[in-house]
Symmetry: none
Subunit: 223 residues, 2 copies
């Protein structure tokens, strides 16, 4: 599933864009300022960024330049300004496309798909890093201090699930749901696989630094 980061200060528009994109199957995160958006993107890069031009503080052009400095994520501007001058300035700053409000959601998603099709080849394999541990969901690969670790499918899915919600506690039940797609089942099963996972990715499985037990609640991956 593709992720989109929406940077837009108007609450109503931000919400409606978010809902509409979620409806279309995108994973959406939103920010109200350029600063928040840039921080958000730096921490966990989105596949595509939607940005408004008129933002408080840093404006949309600064935001685009900031995003471009960090990488080459596809950027779509969504703005009320219809001046050629604004469009040219945004594209020159590094945007890939420019839509004028109000936007038709169908057009927006079609443009996102077109842009994604065009950009796909250039995108590096995204990775989630936690200290010396690196999880690459798409590559089906986990690196510990740069060395690949041989995980089984279940261990890998379990780790991915924890990594995607790093810092949050996930209950055994949640993990059963998401990793095993069991609606019910023995929660001990999770323990066993957590144990096996620790044998492979922890230096001292007895004193785990990455996969932490939260007694009575579940497990979490320490950032």
């Amino acid at each position: 599933m593709a992720s989109v980061l929406v940077i837009e200060d108007d609450d109503r528009i931000r919400l409606s864009l978010t809902l509409a994109l979620e409806d279309e199957g995108y994973g959406v995160r939103a920010a109200a300022t350029a600063e928040d958006g840039l921080a958000e993107h730096r921490q966990d890069p989105a596949d595509t960024v939607l940005v408004d031009l008129m933002l408080p503080g840093l404006d949309g052009y600064d935001c685009i330049r900031g995003l471009r400095r960090d990488g080459d994520v596809p950027i779509v501007v969504v703005s009320a300004r219809s001046d050629t001058h604004d469009i040219v300035a945004a594209l020159e700053a590094g945007a890939d496309d420019y839509l004028i409000k109000p936007v038709a959601i169908k057009e927006l998603t079609a443009r996102l798909r077109a842009l994604r099709r065009r950009s796909r080849a250039a995108l590096p394999v995204p990775a989630l890093t936690f200290g010396d541990l690196e999880v690459r969901p798409l590559a089906g690969e986990v690196l510990l201090r740069g060395e690949p670790v041989a995980l089984t499918r279940t261990e890998f899915r379990l780790l991915c699930e924890l990594a995607e919600h790093a810092g949050q506690v996930l209950s055994r039940q949640q993990l059963l749901n998401r990793v095993w797609e069991y609606d019910f089942g023995d929660e001990r099963l999770v323990d066993v696989h957590i144990g096996r996972l620790r044998q492979k990715i922890e230096d001292e499985p007895g004193a785990p630094r990455h996969v932490v037990t939260v007694r009575g609640l579940g497990y979490k991956l320490h950032r």
Copy 2:
């Protein structure tokens, strides 16, 4: 200098686009019909194609699909139709951008630059190299240590698919979809062809260095 191919049946518009783009420093060729444009492009591919939607004979959508079939040249639609439906259809057919007439030449050139910036990054696809293995999707050939390898069509498409997503795991289902265009089918089929491919491109088919299996997930081509 970048070349642009303009496909537009209206003489006045074709001429004015041509002149304006030449003014901006582009090398411009023009065609009045989709058929002529496709032939022109096939003979000498342009860096970017501008296409009108309403054309006599083959229409703009057919033209876009034709261009896409031959390669992945950036395509910009310039049309009088402003319906969301038309925009979506053109983008789905394979266009990269869509402008509504009358177009501001400054906006057009800014969009061309943005598209070119994006495409160039994604375009170096004439050859994909992985250590001693070189895959040339366009030339339809594969070299191992400089020596051509005789692959069957299926093996070749399979390798191309893996090469275009090098480093990423592709599930058997994904490979069936993309290489065989099966929506369902026996996944063992993939195994068999992977095996045959390995016989030809791996030094030790039993310990493959290029086409790696990721147990429980699928296969990937090691970068």
